[in-house]
């Protein structure tokens, strides 16, 4: 039995058929028909009204990454559309599945610079996985189905539907919703061949110094168990990218730490000593590889990725396996032999020992009760106090690097951070979405005094919905990460990095959010306990030293095994050569 319904009604029914029960958005003239329909469906779809469209899209990103579901955003034309651009770009580069529904002016006005018209397709095409403009109501169901299929299959990404207002108000015949499972020009899950896997297995079986690089793609495909099984069988050390953190628990014996600019010494130095690198679901970002010409000179590289465009983009690989990480690792397992790489494993311990002594101990084990807290120390303590399988959501900067490094990960999908774009202002709204996507896990938002102010209006969203996020402002009264570069490479010329900040506790108070200041170490433990015991949102404004920096560091343009331990000490690679 078919019936005649409006385009707006079709959108909302389509969302429900796709299993959507929560959307993030902000209304306006060109999307009012959809909002009018949402009013009727409030029992099926919860709409979260953020305070800015950028907040809505980052919240949807947090939601998607915490739940692996598709995040849905609904905004109006013109300025509403323009305000989601940062989030689209962020989601595109960080493989985040979103369906972004944007109202557009009436179709007969398109192209005439009419009120609140902006060229959504033109602007969003380069930063989305797929974009379509809909001018006819009848096209809505199929386009929506296609959008969900594209967003959350293959390499996930954001999809934009630019829907003219008259397509929302016009009518169509609705019988049943057909989900999409096929697009002629798109193969989301390519076929993997045993013969290729056997080549990979023989490389693994004959390697003396193998290293597995685990990226975001491992978690996207849900391949954490398959990865552990494989690396335990063949005794393969694993290092992860920033977005691959928590693929394995922090204390897993095969897990050796993070790669890249602010990663751990062992993974970086041993990248250049390895004879085989097996990269799974990671895209060799330049923050990971450092100087490409000096990257992994002794290794054959196996690249496993679902997106063929990543092969040989930055790093030439010896074997490419085009497929889903979970399937590939699962099918690789039987071909791989049990092995031991004792000396090679030990070399990671040697590095870890030096890092512990020179960097980790000073960050975590200072016991001066009157001293200012260290960022890493706060992150470690919060993660240990945050109950079962907490989620770290970060903003960008030192707060991000240090919380990512020192948070203890116990379960997969425990870090949500803006990696590829490095969007300041991501943390607070993404934390809101993460809590809604994983309501039973404690969500700890680490942010800087700079970053929080980029989307601080979202405290209003937290207030309105009582979102129980734990917000930790690591407050150095500086744009700290930039300050670090100025201190190291620009002769301490702190151009436009000091900031005069508001009283964050009073600010939180104005939103009815409980908050307290932590000015010295002796106040930290009590404050964390109160924050964790409180049933609701809570903020700690922790004073940290403006001079604190994040180390180790591989500066831009250096090889990965050039590791600065401090401003004046470089890690001596020869330590490992005896």
């Amino acid at each position: 039995m078919s019936e005649i319904i409006t385009g707006a009604e079709a959108i909302v029914r389509g969302l429900i058929c796709e299993g959507v029960d929560r959307v993030f958005g902000y209304p306006g003239g060109a999307i009012i028909p959809v909002y009018d329909t949402l009013y009727d469906y409030a029992d099926k779809i919860t709409h979260v009204l953020t305070r800015h469209e950028q907040g809505a899209i980052h919240a949807a990103q947090g939601y998607a990454r915490a739940s692996l579901r598709t995040g849905v955003v609904i905004v109006t034309s013109g300025p509403g559309a323009a305000n989601v651009i940062t989030g689209l770009s962020d989601a595109n580069v960080d493989c985040t599945p979103l369906v972004v529904i944007i109202g557009q002016v009436n179709s007969w006005l398109l192209g005439s610079d009419s009120f609140q018209e902006t060229d959504v397709v033109g602007i969003t095409q380069p930063i989305s996985k797929w974009t379509i403009q809909i001018r006819n109501s009848a096209d809505i169901p199929a386009a929506l189905a296609k959008a969900f299929y594209i967003a959350n299959t293959g390499r996930p990404g954001p999809v934009v539907l630019d829907i003219a207002k008259d397509a929302q108000t016009g009518t169509l015949e609705w019988d049943r919703y057909r989900r999409c499972n096929f697009i002629r020009s798109y193969i989301p899950y390519p076929e993997v061949h045993d013969t290729d896997l056997q080549v990979v297995a023989s490389l693994i079986n004959s390697a003396d110094r193998p290293l597995v690089l685990a990226g975001h793609g491992v978690m996207i495909s849900g391949a954490e168990k398959e990865l552990s099984a494989l690396v335990e069988k063949a005794d393969l050390p694993v290092a992860s990218t920033l977005l691959g953190l928590s693929t394995m628990p922090s204390d897993h014996p095969m897990y050796k730490g993070m790669l890249g600019m602010h990663g751990n010494i062992g993974p970086n130095v041993n990248t250049n000593r390895a004879d085989l690198i097996v990269a799974v679901g990671m895209r060799f970002d330049d923050r990971v590889t450092g100087e490409l010409d000096k990257y992994a000179p002794n290794a054959k590289i196996v690249h496993i990725d679902i997106d063929a465009a990543e092969f040989d983009k930055n790093v030439k690989s010896y074997v490419k396996i085009h497929g889903d990480a979970r399937e590939v690792l699962h099918r690789l397992y039987p071909f791989v032999r049990e092995a031991k790489h004792t000396d090679w494993q030990k070399s990671f311990d040697t590095c870890a020992k030096i890092e512990t002594e020179k960097i980790i101990q000073p960050e975590l084990c200072n016991d001066d009760p009157d001293g200012m807290c260290k960022m890493g120390e706060v992150a470690r303590k919060v993660s240990l106090a945050a109950g079962i399988d907490p989620i770290l959501v970060t903003d960008v900067g030192l707060n991000q690097m240090l919380s990512a490094r020192y948070f203890r990960y116990t379960a997969p999908r425990s870090i949500i951070t803006s990696g590829g774009l490095g969007t300041m202002g991501f943390g607070l709204p993404a934390g809101i979405g993460a809590k809604m996507g994983a309501p039973h896990r404690t969500v700890c938002v680490f942010t800087g005094d700079g970053g929080i102010q980029m989307t601080v209006q979202e405290l209003g969203t937290i207030m309105q919905y009582g979102v129980a996020v734990k917000i930790i402002v690591l407050n150095n009264n500086y744009l700290g990460n930039v300050r670090q570069w100025q201190a190291l490479f620009y002769n301490n010329r702190f151009s436009q990095t000091p900031m005069v900040n508001p009283d964050f506790v009073e600010l939180a108070d104005a939103y009815g959010i409980k908050a307290e200041n932590v000015e010295k170490r002796s106040q930290l433990d009590g404050a964390i306990t109160r924050m964790m015991e409180y049933d609701g949102p809570y903020m700690l404004n922790v004073t940290v030293d403006e001079c604190d920096m994040v180390f180790p560091m591989t500066p831009n343009g250096c090889a990965v095994d050039y590791v600065m331990l401090s401003k004046d000490e470089i890690f001596d690679v020869n330590t490992l050569n005896d």
Binding site: G122, R184, S185, A309, K313
Partner: protein, 185 residues
């Protein structure tokens, strides 16, 4: 830096609005200058074929091709050197009819270049030449001295020399997949 040469890029796409834009931004981002473009329907119903030529090195263009193929609406994209394809372009020339009648060797030029006359009026004559770009170019160079008032050259179109039709094969395997999927439904 690898050797630079002129490559032909053939892209098969769905026939959607805004496709050329999706493709051209990939070249813009990678600072690749498109020399010529030509777009039309292909022999396969509903499939569009776009030809681009670009002067660059193979590695840069291979990366661009990967990013082109990543676009959802792109069916397949290929990179060819001149040896791998038969290619042609069309050029039109407008010259003064007066001159054409006066100068005997102009007629000889036309014949030598194997050009065709499309239209003659008392004022002007329109010539057409199909061939490789060096051929259309050399006629242009010769006509320049004879009151040439307009000259236009199309983008390159090409057909592969290979006996295997990769797009057909791709589409039929996709059709198989579609049938399996609807069967499972």
């Amino acid at each position: 830096m690898e050797d630079q040469q002129l490559f032909t890029i053939a892209i098969y796409t769905e026939n959607h609005v805004g496709l050329l834009n999706q493709l051209s931004i990939i070249f813009t981002r990678r600072c690749l200058n498109i020399e010529s473009v030509s777009a039309s329907a292909s022999a396969i119903e509903g499939v569009h074929k776009i030809h681009l030529t670009c002067f660059s090195d193979r590695r840069s263009l291979e990366k661009a091709i990967q990013q082109i193929e990543r676009r959802i609406d792109v069916i397949k994209a290929f990179l060819y050197t001149d040896e791998e394809v038969v290619h042609q372009e069309v050029a039109l020339y407008k010259v003064s009819t007066q001159k054409l009648l006066e100068e005997k060797n102009l007629e000889e030029i036309i014949r030598r270049h194997n050009a065709r006359i499309l239209d003659i009026t008392p004022d002007y004559t329109i010539l057409e030449k199909t061939g490789h770009s060096d051929e259309t170019e050399s006629l242009f160079q010769e006509l320049k001295s004879y009151d040439l008032t307009q000259f236009v050259r199309s983008g390159r179109i090409s057909i592969t020399k290979s006996p295997i039709e990769l797009v057909d094969a791709y589409l039929s395997s996709q059709e198989e997949r579609r049938k399996r999927l609807t069967h499972d439904d």
